[in-house]
């Protein structure tokens, strides 16, 4: 499934990387602990978190993640957005909680990495 379809279905706001929404999503992962993300998330995964500092871009870029959904209406600061644009990382925003978003992703057929 493409990122664009997920954005549409979940009404996500595209904060950075609008030109990369054709990316295929291979699965999903949710955590706010970066080391856990580094250990588990796979290339092409969508990552759901409420962290919004610039280092989430480094993590997403190193792991070649399809995109990052930032939950609970947290707005990433300018440096995060600027870095995401530079690195081609897709940042998506939602007012919903991580739990709800993950539930919706699962209902769309996005599976976890286990």
């Amino acid at each position: 499934m493409k990122l664009a379809e997920i954005c549409r279905a979940l009404s996500l706001e595209v904060q950075a990387g609008a030109e990369h929404l054709e990316r295929e999503v291979t699965g999903g992962y949710a955590s706010d602990l970066l080391s856990c993300v580094m250990a588990k998330a796979q290339a092409g995964n969508i990552w759901v978190t409420l962290q919004a500092h610039p280092n989430i871009v480094a993590v997403a870029s190193l792991l070649n993640l399809a995109g990052v959904i930032i939950t609970e209406g947290v707005v990433p600061d300018e440096s995060t957005v600027a870095k995401a644009k530079e690195e081609g990382v897709v940042l998506l925003l939602t007012p919903l909680t991580t739990f709800t978003i993950v539930g919706k992703l699962a209902a769309m057929g996005i599976a976890g990495v286990d």
Binding site: E22, E24, D32, L33, L34, S35, C36, M38, A39, A43, T49, Q51, H53, P54, N55, I56, V57, A58, V59, S61, L62, L63, S79, K83
Partner: protein, 316 residues
């Protein structure tokens, strides 16, 4: 991987502008159907966009020509017989988008426009198939090139120096730039054609060591990555405060990071565990709690076995 799935994958990656026919033949609305017949015959094409000034106003096909011929309307102008406001595709969209458009509309060709609406090409099914096959061939070629380059690279290297070294200074508490050392290591390994799995392990190990310096080292430190023909050695060194109990530090979940750092999602006590998991060899030293030095070795055997196999030269 079969060619079929590879082709599908390419359809998601390749852009329409890479496979379309550029600077297509066009006609004006004032062209007569008789003139159109000559143009189509001369260029051996079955249709063409109709352009007025720099604006595309329609599309006219062989089918329209045949109808005109049957109705004895060969002196009619293209503007009267064309399909106005044709469905278009954007040059920067992926081929898979065009495939969907073909499936939906059943037209034989679509004008390709840029985001300003200017006509930049024309796309037929044949263009897509030809373009993807060409790209497929190109991918094979590229892989061969990479392998050859990798071999040559190390042949030269061994004769000269025996490794390349990347050094990267890491500043204390600089979360904004944390990850840049790992990013450089990842890029270098990718360029050398190292397999994705090895690149991933090296990137994760480097990242965790880099973050450790950012979080814990009072004066920052340095990441030194040394890429040799058969392995990568990643060293992280700092000037203290050191790790009083290395055994405890290696336990999953053990962390001394302050609260404000944990709130950012760091300091979960999984960093060194991750490093160890990614490393073939891992050595952590911190004598007298003065400084810390971590050394990670990751071997890339599978790639070199493949790269050095002299029988594996054909791939058709």
């Amino acid at each position: 991987m079969t060619d079929f799935t590879k082709l599908q994958e390419l359809a998601y990656e390749v852009r329409i502008e890479e496979v379309m026919t550029k600077s297509p033949v066009t006609v004006s609305p004032d062209t007569t159907m008789a003139e159109l017949r000559e143009i189509l015959r001369e260029h051996r094409i079955s249709g063409t966009p109709v352009v007025e000034g720099d604006r595309m106003v329609g599309i006219i096909s062989l089918e329209d020509l045949i109808k005109a011929l049957a109705n004895g309307a060969m002196s009619a102008r293209v503007g009267e017989r064309m399909t106005p406001d044709p469905v278009t595709v954007y040059a920067d969209e992926t081929v898979v988008k065009a495939v969907n458009t073909f499936a939906r509309y059943r037209f034989g060709r679509f004008p390709v426009v840029d985001r300003e609406g200017r006509l930049v090409g024309i796309l037929t099914r044949g263009d897509i198939v030809r373009g993807l096959l060409k790209q497929l061939e190109h991918e094979y070629h590229r892989e061969e090139m990479l392998r050859a380059r990798f071999n040559r690279f190390f042949d030269e290297l061994i004769a000269d120096i025996d490794s390349i070294v990347l050094r990267h200074e890491v500043k204390a508490r600089d979360f904004e730039h944390a990850g840049e050392a790992s990013s450089r290591v990842k890029r270098a390994l990718n360029r050398l054609g190292v397999t994705p799995q090895i690149v991933r392990r090296a990137a994760i190990a480097t990242y965790e060591l880099e973050i450790n310096i950012v979080i814990h080292a009072s004066e920052g430190g340095e990441i030194i990555a040394e890429i040799q023909p058969e392995k990568i050695i990643i060293r992280a060194v700092d000037t203290g405060p050191g790790i009083p109990d290395i055994e405890a530090a290696m336990q999953p979940g053990f962390s001394t990071a302050p609260e404000w750092i944990r709130e950012m999602g760091f300091g979960a006590g999984m960093g060194l565990v991750n490093v160890k998991r990614c490393a073939d060899e891992f050595l952590l030293e911190s004598p007298n709690g003065m400084w810390t030095s971590a050394k990670v070795v990751i071997y890339f055997p599978s790639f070199l076995e493949r790269a050095q196999d002299p029988d594996d030269t054909s791939r058709s």
